[in-house]
């Protein structure tokens, strides 16, 4: 290998009490797709951001083309040819697609006045490759906020590409993308590689890593533990490298047992598994059309199909978070009030929403409150007065049962790694002993071992008599957990796959067959 294009070494970064990076590094060459792997909270995003200039490290050196680089901000990074796709997207919802793609580098005429035509041309060029994802029509003048999550992710990618980088950082850029969009992105990345661009690729989907990347650097606890040639390694070995010598955690005692153990004094509902059923009839919203199905207690109903066909909307609507214009839901023979999350929650429905940061957690609030909130009224005197000890005990049990890695219950939940945040969001509902659990992509961005733990919780919930409805962008996850899968297309149930019919390839083909016009 010639002079590495990028050499990062000894990078340290501390956030208050958290040592996010503790001597991390990475060496990669021109024309390489280099994976950056590690469990949640191992420092991947922080290292990426150090390179992209949004994080300034406490220590460490970055060399580009052998020369030491001072990256004091995104503009420095840009000057060095670095562009990034951030895990937390860097697009502005109120600006149009065009405005976002050229943001910060707007083409101008004299005196700083904008050149609108040049901007459109540049944006169109950057997005052309992905036209299929927008049904062939580029929404250049639409506000990005009006787009779906996958479309937004693509705009973010196009924006980075439009900067013509020598080094492109992709931090979980595929997390919101569906298979066919991922393929387009991979094609682009391969072309970039052919042009000598270095792509630093972070993903928790190991199949993607093996399909795309040449080498992988693995982080653990903020340290680089090694770099491997992917051609010469396999998934197990990679996982071992990520998890370390710690014995690979066996799926634990079921989450439902956890729930039973911590249910507060208000737990007067007896769960009689055979009786609980959820029946949905003709549910309609502005994104759902006439959805009907029934789920039994103990069953995990999966939702499949292409991304954005109404899966999240269905879960939101059942919880009252999306406005239902028609239809009804019946839980145990009694109508489930649609339209009010508060009523849904009191009727025993729980929602683990798809966007943890926006919909699921209270980032600046303590872990304690995040865990207590959904169920505290059961433990409160006269539904108002809280007892500190009781709340602490309830939260503490959940932390132990779900093995949430925390410092103190008083720390803001934002100080946890993504996987642990996800467990908090699930845990708050387990304290409430829900009868219906709606899970929207519950392991998005969660590392391998946390994923297994969450799977165990889901199975335990079902085993304990809850109705579980699961949406997942990960077909493997659907296959592994679902007893049945409803494939959605354009807001309607297009197909139902029974247990024996569920397989990853079947899920993919079902999803694609439903959209014949969108061949890639």
């Amino acid at each position: 290998m010639s002079t590495p294009l990028l050499e990062m070494s000894g990078v340290r970064k501390r956030y208050g009490g958290v040592q996010a990076l503790d001597g991390a590094g990475l060496t990669a060459v021109r024309g390489e797709v280099h994976a950056l792997l590690g469990p949640n909270g191992s420092g991947k995003s922080t290292l990426d951001k150090t390179l992209a200039g949004t994080v300034v490290p406490d220590e460490g050196t970055i060399r580009i083309d052998g020369a030491e680089a001072r990256i004091g901000g995104p503009r420095d990074a840009h000057a060095l040819g670095v562009a990034a796709v951030y895990q937390q997207l860097s697009i502005v919802g109120d600006l149009t697609v065009t405005q976002n793609v050229v943001l910060g580098l707007e083409p101008v005429r004299r005196l700083g006045f904008l050149d609108h035509r040049a901007a459109r041309d540049r944006a169109a060029a950057a997005l052309e490759r992905f036209a299929a994802a927008f049904a062939g029509r580029l929404p250049l003048d639409r506000p990005v906020g009006a787009l779906g999550p996958g479309e937004r992710q693509i705009v973010e990618v196009a924006k980075a590409l439009a900067r013509g980088p020598r080094i492109l950082v992709l931090d979980e850029a595929t997390a919101s993308l569906h298979k066919e969009q991922v393929e387009v992105l991979f094609d682009v990345v391969r072309e970039l590689r052919a042009d000598g661009v270095l792509v630093v690729f972070t993903s928790h989907r190991l199949d993607e890593v093996f399909a795309l990347c040449d080498r992988a650097t693995v982080l653990r606890n903020g340290r680089t533990v090694g770099t491997v040639e992917l051609a010469a390694t396999d998934e197990d070995e990679l996982v071992r490298l990520m998890v370390g010598d710690a014995p690979h955690q066996a799926p634990r005692a079921s989450g439902a047992t956890a729930a039973a153990a911590v249910a507060g004094d208000g737990a007067d509902r007896t769960l009689t598994p055979s009786s609980t059923t959820l029946e949905v009839r003709g549910l309609t919203t502005d994104r759902l059309r006439d959805v009907s199905f029934a789920v039994r207690a103990g069953e995990v109903l999966g939702l499949g199909g292409l991304q954005g066909q109404g899966q999240s909307e269905l879960l939101l609507a059942l919880f009252g978070g999306a406005h239902a214009t028609g239809g009804e839901a019946v839980l145990d023979g009694r109508p489930l009030p649609l339209g009010s999350p508060a009523k849904a929650a009191r009727a025993g429905v729980a929602l683990v929403p798809g966007d943890r940061g926006r919909q699921g957690m209270f980032a600046v609030r303590p872990i304690q409150e995040n865990l207590s909130l959904a169920s505290m009224h059961r433990r409160a005197t006269a539904k108002v007065a809280l007892r500190a000890g009781t709340e602490r005990a309830a939260a503490q049990t959940m932390v132990e049962r779900l093995r949430i890695k925390i410092g103190s219950l008083a720390d803001p939940v934002s100080t946890l790694s993504g996987g642990n945040q996800q467990k908090v969001v699930i845990g708050k509902w387990l304290l409430d002993r829900p009868r219906v659990v709606l899970l929207d992509d519950p392991t998005k961005g969660v590392d391998v071992s946390s994923k297994e733990e969450i799977y165990a919780i889901v199975r335990g919930l079902a085993a304990d008599g809850a109705v579980v409805i699961l949406n997942s962008s990960d077909n493997r996850e659907l296959t592994e957990l679902s007893d049945r899968v409803l494939v959605l297309f354009e807001g309607a149930v297009a197909e139902e796959l029974a247990a024996e019919a569920i397989s990853e390839s079947r899920l993919v083909s079902s999803a694609l067959r439903l959209a014949p016009g969108e061949k890639l």
Binding site: T54, V55, R365, L373
Partner: protein, 326 residues
């Protein structure tokens, strides 16, 4: 009004004094400066006086703290006017007679709460930004005051109210201070040990997530505005006890200082973070500053300038927004 996040004081590693301690230190420093500039400033009697003056701001700022924590640009600019209105009603109804106190207080607080309810409904169901909703409410309440009084406030505080507020209890401390302490403890309990309090923080930290956790967001917000107006009304009654008679603009000037007290106390204007203890200290800091400026013999114009500059310094000690680059 972006979405600032307070720089979280470092966890285990870098310990920084919390906002309450910091604001407290500032208050002490101001008193010391006062004593140097104008001997007598730190005397016991004067400190008691300052605390007494701080109490009104402190009580008004209870409600302000609550609505600010509720987030979404939450702020109640109508507190001063509501306090004035409450005092005007209280004065007219009690009319110098102890027998009328209960009725007067009940009526005043009821009217205040009703105004808060309208604020809350406007903010939730009509989606009017709190800043302008409560700003518009100032005009409405002023209108109500004129319609109610015909421009001439009447009545007087009942003697029992006056002695409750001004009378010395122990250590020569006026009853007002004990009332403030009581209300302050109530506020702290409300925020930290009730389902309402935790819901409020949740709503302030992330409204969507609160909704999707089953929190009745609108109800929480409306209650926040009702409480804000009610505490303002209560402050108006206390002020009535202090001044004995009322004037059409009795408490108007508390509007923005109540916000400043909250911020100096470390509560984040973006919502979701904060508490009343800091606000109480913030109210004391502002009052000590006013007292200090009053005793400084500089012209009114320069006094105003100095006031602004010192405020800026106070604000920069705490309540700064997060850096974009970490």
């Amino acid at each position: 009004m972006s979405t600032p996040v307070l720089e979280t004081p470092g966890g285990l590693g870098a310990w920084r004094p919390g906002p309450v301690a910091l604001a407290g230190a500032v208050a002490v420093a101001l008193v010391i400066v006062g004593e140097i500039v104008s001997p007598g400033f730190a005397g016991y009697g004067q400190l008691v006086n300052l605390m007494r003056v701080a109490a009104f701001l402190g009580v008004i700022a209870i409600g302000q703290t609550i609505v600010i924590i509720a987030g979404g640009g939450g702020v109640d600019l109508s507190v001063g006017k509501v306090a004035t209105f409450s005092a005007i009603i209280g004065s007219r109804v009690m009319d110098g007679d102890d027998a009328n106190i209960a009725l007067a207080v009940a009526l005043s607080l009821l009217v205040a709460a009703a105004i808060g309810l309208v604020n809350g409904l406007g903010v939730t169901f009509l989606r009017i930004p709190p800043f302008v909703m409560t700003l518009g409410m100032i005009g409405v309440v002023q209108g109500l005051i004129l319609a109610y009084t015909g421009g001439q406030a009447e009545g007087r505080a009942a003697p029992a109210l006056t002695s409750l507020v001004n009378g010395r209890v122990v250590f020569d401390l006026p009853g007002l201070l004990f009332l403030w302490l009581l209300l302050g403890l109530l506020a702290v309990w409300l925020l930290r040990r009730t389902t309402f309090g935790w819901n409020l923080f949740a709503v302030g930290a992330n409204r969507t997530a609160a909704e999707l956790t089953g929190v009745r967001v609108n109800r929480t917000l409306i209650l926040a505005y009702v409480l804000s107006a009610t505490f303002a009304g209560l402050a108006g009654i206390l002020l009535l006890g202090y001044t004995e008679s009322v004037f059409l603009d009795l408490a108007d000037q508390y509007m923005l200082p109540s916000v400043a007290a909250v911020v100096i106390g470390g509560t984040l204007l973006a919502g979701g973070i904060g508490g009343y203890a800091g606000t109480a200290v913030g109210a004391i800091v502002l009052t000590v500053l006013q007292g200090l400026l009053t005793t400084l013999d500089i012209g009114g114009a320069w006094r105003t300038v100095v006031n602004g500059v010192v405020l800026l310094v106070l604000l920069s000690l705490y309540g700064r927004q997060r850096r974009l680059r970490s």
